[in-house]
Amino acid sequence: MALLDMTGIHKRFGQVSALADVDFDLEAGEVHALVGENGAGKSTLMKVLAGVQRADSGTMTLAGSVVRFGSVNEAQAHGVVMVYQELALVPSLSVAENLFLGKLPKVVGYGALFERARRLLTRVELEVDPGTEVARLSIGEKQLVEIARALAREGRILVLDEPTAALSATESDRLFAIIDKVKQGGVAVVYISHRLEEVFRIADRVTVLRDGERVGTRTVADTSADEIVQLMVGKSVRHHERTPRTTERTLGTFEASGPGLASMSISLRAGEIVGLAGVIGSGRERILPTLFGLGGSARWAGESVRGPREAIRRGIVLVPSDRKTQGLVVELSVEENVSLATLSRLQRFGFMDRKREREQTRRWIDRLALRPPDPRKSVRELSGGNQQKVVIAKALATEPEVLLLDEPTRGVDVGARAELYDVIDDLSQRGLGLVLSSSDSEELLRLSDRILVFRGGRVTAELLPPFAYEEVVAHVTGARQLA
């Protein structure tokens, strides 16, 4: 009998079906990998399991009895523990205190506490003093502390969500050894990953999700990376749909290097859209901030770019990956946000030229079809897609030569996404050079003129149209290296 049996799980968010009739089961002492493209439903399924979200329908059977978790605490009481990508430790407390957080005795006897902590740390082979402040640990060590904490709670099911994203190769190896050990102890491990080489290295079984449905479960010994990629992308192989706008005129070449990034160069032609593919931790997510002068070192057309101001002055502008924390000032209006990067241009003797400002805002509201088309609307009240348009308008108002787009459609609904694609297409027709970094392979296929694949901090492949969906996925997940 399986340790866990999830059957017929449904979950909708508004109009969008995140999970449709998904079955998933776990045996004690197995590592079960969960793979799929972004938005396939992996995280949602695990959130249902861990009590973060409730399924709309479906049943969960844990060790023979039907369960329904209303909260994370309830799930943990049943031994289901999730280790998040964003680590859930308190940095200012000691390792020991973190291990027993929420389970601390009223009066903390440090001797006994440290002794128990030491035993747990041995189980994950982490040689740190239990009194060490967590803030001083590396990410890999923090992860092991989280796993130890899960063991402390007598976890029977451990969910790891892309645990190696921020780890070095040696740290990853160490993690795999611990996972193996934990598994020997009878714990079932769910392993969410985009990296197939890891899946084939540590998993016993693998389940593939696509668009909220389970498309297959395979025993790792009886499958191949190619088969998994096929399952991930589906039967129909989609090719490049875009008519290339690229001209022969070269705008310039970026040269970049930095922590976690090998030195590389990316040349860009007018009208070209260069897509950047790669999982989190591949270096792909660092490259655009680096090119914009935010850490690492970058040069454009032979001269170094030392910060956002200099970048903007030289015609390079970034649409950052997180519009809430990096893109928008939500207290301000649409107009005030659109003007933010062009304040120096919209002033005369220090005073804002309100007429020119309004003209500029209207122009971008029209061109990007912002809804509602009201310059005075607070951006807080706009939908995700329209907020993103405001960020793009702000960037375009600087009249850049090069637009760096970092995850431009993250958290944007399908309709608005199509509109943003049209906007991006239009920009390339007008001769801008665009660099598009995305975790969404379909988006890259749809928009790119060429795709650079990142792995381990370097560009490992350059793909040219017509692109095959499975080829992109195979490169990004590392299936190509396994074949």
Binding site: P308, E331, L340
Partner: protein, 316 residues
Amino acid sequence: MSLARVNWREIVARFGLVMALVALVIVLSTLSDRFLTTSNIINVLRQISINAIIAAGMTVVIIGRGIDLSVGSLLALTGVVGAGLAVGGLPAGFAILAALALGTALGTFNGAFVAYAGIAPFIVTLAGLTIFRGAALAFTDGRPISGLPPLFRTIGYGDFLGLPIPVWIMLGFLILTHVILRYTALGRAVYAIGGNEEAARLSGIPVRRVILFTFAYSGMAAALASMVLTGRLNSAQPSAGVMFELDAIAAVVVGGTSLFGGRGGVFGTLIGALIIGVINNGMNLLNVPSFYQQIVKGGVILGALLIERLVATRRT
């Protein structure tokens, strides 16, 4: 969602402060027939002028997500230096300009530590609070400076078009601050930084320079208030301005400027200063003992913020 309710919230959010002030005035005028007289109103305006000037500078700092605790001490230091220069023979006008320049410089000193060394504004200006106070006491050896040229007295007691000079200075400075905040690129940058510093930086706004400006401006405001106070007292006291930072912050927050930055304005600060001033004045007229006055003042500050909080959370 009924339309009437939305409108009601909108009205409270926008005009709640003014309504509170009007209500306060009505209540006090029924309690005391001396309250709603021209001379008393002018008296209130004169009493709040010093706090309102400091609070205007404080508003700029707070909108930029900072805080300036050093204003009271800075007021004392610029006062004794300005008065010292004037008594020492420098023409009074130049002495005043020198005091203003010193205030700006001391504010810049605060701002440099915040913007370039990355130290929290609370800590930097707390240090400024003791440093400037110590400097003021050292400069005067703890004694007040008197025997000032007549210009100071004019500033403190003069009238122009029926209003006291301190009131004119207050109004002028409030307008200047309003214009900077609402009509200049610099003001826009202050709001942007207070709202989301990271987004401002990625938009190419020179964040550090703008933060430096906000503290410099607050320093200048405190120095200006210092000149008014020196004129009122006709002497400069090294112990002047103790706890003035709290009155200024109270006026700012009662006036609806968010301590989390990015929102607010100097008009609200004026209303905030008026509310506090009217309460003080009213309680004096009603002979409320000063111990109780402090309790009431604190209660009003809490009440104002509580109402604002309720309105703000229900709106979103």
